[in-house]
Every structure is written in C-alpha cells, then in structure tokens.
Amino acid sequence: MLEIRWHSRAGQGAVTGAKGLADVISTTGKQVQAFAFYGSAKRGAAMTAYNRVDDKVIMNHEKYMEPDYVFVIDPALVFTSDVTVNHKENTKYIITTHMSTDELVKVQPKLVGKEIYTVDCITIANETIGRPIPNTPMLGAFMKISGMYDIEFFKESMKRVLGKLPQKIIDANMFAIQRAYDEVK
C-alpha cells in the first residue's frame, strides 16, 4: 500500500490532482483511492487530500493515514499547518517553495532529519499555465522522486485526464509537469 497526503488550500487543485493521479495509476491495473477533507470548504482554507494505491481492492475507509509521501502545494502551509503529523520514519516530503531545501529546513525545524525535496510549483504554474494552480507540477516532481512511471508515459496519461480542457491549457500543463520533473531537488 502506497499512501500520499496532500496539503493544499481549497481552490489550488489538490482534489483534482489526487483524482488525476488515481486515474493514471488505475490505467496500469492498480487499485486506487482518492479523497479529501473539505471542512467548510472556503476558498483559500487549508485542506488535505489523500491517495491510496495497492495491488488489491482498497477496503480501508479510515481517514487516518501514516503517509509514505507528503505533498505540500502551497508554500505557507509548511509554517501554518503541521505537515509532519502522523509521519513515518521514511516519509518523503515534496514541498512547494521558492527556497532551497537547506534554507527551508533552517526556518522550519520540524523538517530537520526528514527526507525533503523542494520545487517551486507556484512559480512554475504561473509561468506555464498562467495561474497559480500547483497541482500538476507537483505530480511531475512526484514522478521524478518516486520513479513511479516514465515521465513521457505520465504526460501522455495526463493529457487524457485533462482531455476536456482547451488544447492550450493542456499543453501548458505538460510544460509545467516537465519543468517540475526537471527542477525538483
């Protein structure tokens, strides 16, 4: 079982990202689950979304999770939420920030000793898609860190998932995924 927790703000696309990832993984024959905690769901409110991946049908519906990966797609949430809650010894973090990994760990002591990767998904999204929607770049970074799928296969799959959007937006998302894949450290 692979488990992922997303930290996001409502409106940044964590639910779409989690469902998109589940959709891609499902096409490879794995079982998937994607869900979120909405609360009162005000735009901008901190929220979390979740993925589970397994070889057999996923029957566990508890919301409690000790994640293998934590995705943080808004830079401020590292400071305003506890992104390390319920962590395991080997939990990996991919965090959106303009800082380097060393700089980030210095200003957030909770991250000391953890396996941290950083990538500026907000800037990437702004410069490619034209809006600060950091969900698809985060998935590009995840492909690099996890080695789950070949990046070309992943991009082709995401083209289908994003299928109903205008071609220009789909192309921009592909650039964003590739840039985050190349830039995550």
Binding site: A18, S26, V32, Q33, H61
Partner: protein, 407 residues
C-alpha cells in the same frame, strides 16, 4: 434514439456521486427534479449535465426546496415517467412528508440519499442520521459501501422498484464524502448492457394514459386507510426481498459482481463479529482479516438491504457467533441504537443466544479508524471468553471526554 451513447473504460476512477449520476444516465431517467444539497449535489448536477449535453432524453426540473423536489418527482412518476433524484440531511428531512406520499401512492421513484448528519450543530459530513429518519416511510432502502456499489445498486434499484408486483420507491444510500467524494476504480457496464438490465420503463396506472383514467392521492379515512397501509406492508414483507434477490442474481450473471440481502464476510467459523452499514463494513472486513492473523476468529456482517428489514437473513448470518457488536452511526437520543434493537429483535427467538452489545460511532463524519476496530474485536473476544457482556450494553467509539456507557 434521440441521445448519444458514452464510451466508458472498463474501469473508471469515479467517486460515489459520479457513479450514481452515470447510472441515472444509463437508466435513461425521464425526469429528475432536485434541489441540490451537500454532499449529494454532484449526482443531480451530473444528470443535468448529461441531459444538457444530449446523453439523456430526459428533463431536469429545478425547484425551490426538497419538499418541492420530491413533490415534482411524485407528479412525474404518477404521470408515467422513470423518475429519480438525490438529497442529503436537512434536505431529506424536509422531504419526509412527501416520502410517505410517494410510497403510499406506490410510485417507483429512485432516491439517492448521500448520508449526512442532521443539525444542530450544523455538519455536512457523513453519518446515518438521515437514513434512519426514513426507515418507517414505506420505501425500499439499499445500502452501498463503496462507489462501485453506488453504481450497481442504482441500476438494481430501478429493476426492483419498477416491477409491477412491487411499485414501491427505493432509496440507494451511500456515505457522505467517505463514498460520495472518494474516487475509486469502478467497473462499468456498457450503455447497452446497463439499459438492457434495467429495461424499458413500463408505467402502471399512469395519469397520461387518457384511455384509462385513474386517481392518485385520494382521501380514505377509517373505511380504507388501514387496508391500503396493510397491503403496502404486506408487499414489503413478502414480495420485495425475493424480487431484490432475483435482481441480484440477474446482475451477477451480467457483471460477475455478487450481492446478497445480508452480506457476510469471514462468518463461517466466526466467534466474534461486527454488524454495521456503509463504508465501515469494508474497513471492518480489513480489520477482521488482520484479527484472524492474530488468532481471533473475527467476521463482519453488513446490511445490504435495510428496508424491508432482513429479519430471517440476519438471524441466519449470525448463527453460531458468540459475541456480536452492533454499530449505529446515528445518535439514538435516549434509546438503544436502531440497528442494535433490530438485531436484538431478529435474534430473540433464534437459536443463537449470542452476547450482544451496541456502539454509537462516527457522528458528523468522525473517523472510524482501524485501531478503533482492533480494540472493538478484542473487547468482543473478552466478552466471548467471559461468557457475558463485560461492558455496559451501549458504548461510544471515538468521542472525546470521559468514557460514556449506558444500559
């Protein structure tokens, strides 16, 4: 036909709401009248979009309340159409008066109830308070534990409730957010296979059949009211469960997916078991398997059909078990839980004299964790070993503050 078909992958990643909306599209529902409410909104939104995009030859009716939504559904069903809608929580509560109208007028409407807590305090998350509210309303109630089942049971619901021997409305329940907003793999049927299973709608006593004028919604007073109610109850008690079983059998032939009136998991040699509904059934199944690895013979019983209540099937499923926990996800507010009472009633005259204890859990979407269930199975084993219930009969799982226990 004047609508487009949709190409679906064999496995689609859908949440429970979208799965239900796709089933309404494949059943080619004629009329959906709805007033949206969280967390059921995407079901009727989905139908509205499919209709606007030319995938359904039907009509979406916007109304000003859930009372009006069900009223419009009743009108459309009496006119002779295939009808469905969806609601949750406060909307369901507002619908209650018209729920009794729909069943008393013997109108086969399918209502998706995406289970959510009832205010106050206001809460949009999933529990079974609304589901319990409708249990005497004369509807058939089916319960889905996952998005796959929300899809399948919608198709099955039309087939059962529209049968001319039944003609009773049917609710399909799913857990708010835990099923409705959780995306999982759903095995699909093609549009032709799904519609072929549900079948073309054949109205009966429809008001638009001008050759055979009928009256709906009459007043009867003491001369006939009792006979009408008794006949409705008789049909629920004697005709519905065999018809659901027949539909389950047909559905298994079509899809390979097998449903049962009462679902039993690892029950053949179980010493201890949990009886529950909704997503909790699946989480409990996983924990039961883990308990077996630790030497506790654990099993799970899930209610697929809530009304008519499967009295004998429950007694059969629980035969030989030593210690049973019944889980109610609704505050009984001054009584034992509804499911606890129903199970106690089903077992009272049965051979099984199991130790029975009740638990209230998960109100307002409070998480039921695997850890909770491990503790629960251990407590049941302690009861079985002691030969008596070692706790109070009613306890709470997952509530903060001092431990609560009653009875």
């Amino acid at each position: 036909m004047a609508f487009d078909k949709m190409e679906l992958k064999d496995v689609e990643v859908w949440d429970g709401n979208y799965a239900a909306a796709q089933a309404l599209r494949q059943a080619q529902v004629d009329v959906v009248a709805a007033y949206p409410i969280t967390p059921s909104t995407p079901i009727v939104e989905g139908y509205a979009k499919f209709t606007a995009d030319g995938y359904v030859e039907g009509e979406f009716v916007m109304v000003e309340s859930e009372h009006a939504a069900m009223s419009a559904c009743i009108g459309a069903a009496a006119a002779g159409g295939r009808v469905a809608t969806a609601t949750s929580s406060q909307g369901y509560a507002l619908m209650v008066e018209t729920l009794y109208q729909a069943s008393g007028m013997r109108l086969p409407i399918v209502l998706n109830v995406v289970n959510r807590a009832l205010a106050a305090p206001l809460n949009v998350n999933g529990d079974h308070s609304d589901m319990y509210l409708g249990r005497d309303s004369g509807w058939i109630q089916l319960d889905a534990f996952s998005p796959q089942e929300a899809y399948d049971l919608n198709l099955i619901a039309f087939k059962v409730c529209e049968d001319h021997e039944i003609r009773l409305p049917c609710m399909v329940h799913q857990d708010g957010f835990m099923t409705s907003h959780t995306a999982q793999g759903v095995n699909t049927l093609s549009d032709d296979a799904a519609y072929g299973f549900v079948g073309e709608y054949k109205p009966m006593n429809d008001m638009l059949d001008f050759e055979h004028p009928v009256t709906h919604g009459v007043q009867t007073e003491e001369d006939w009211h009792f006979e009408h109610k008794a006949r409705q109850h008789n049909d629920l008690m004697t005709k519905v469960i065999p018809k659901i079983q027949a539909a389950f059998n047909d559905f298994e032939k079509l899809s390979g997916r097998k449903y049962n009136i009462v679902e039993r998991y690892d029950m053949d040699d179980a010493d201890v078991c949990v009886v529950c509904m909704g997503t909790s059934v699946e989480t409990a199944r996983e924990v039961a398997l883990e308990m077996r690895a630790k030497g506790i013979k654990a099993g799970v019983v899930g209610l697929r059909v809530i009304r008519p209540f499967p009295f004998f099937e429950i007694a059969e499923a629980l035969r030989g078990v030593k210690s049973i926990a019944v889980l109610d996800r609704s505050s009984p507010n001054g009584a034992a839980g509804m499911l606890f009472n129903e199970i106690a009633g089903a077992l009272y005259n049965a051979d099984t004299k199991a130790l029975l204890s009740g638990y209230i859990y998960g109100l307002g979407g409070r998480d039921l964790t695997k850890k909770h269930l491990v503790d629960l199975f251990n407590e049941l084993q302690a009861n079985a070993d002691a030969g008596k219930v070692t706790t109070k009969l009613q306890q709470f799982i997952g509530v903060r503050g001092p431990k609560l226990a009653y009875l």
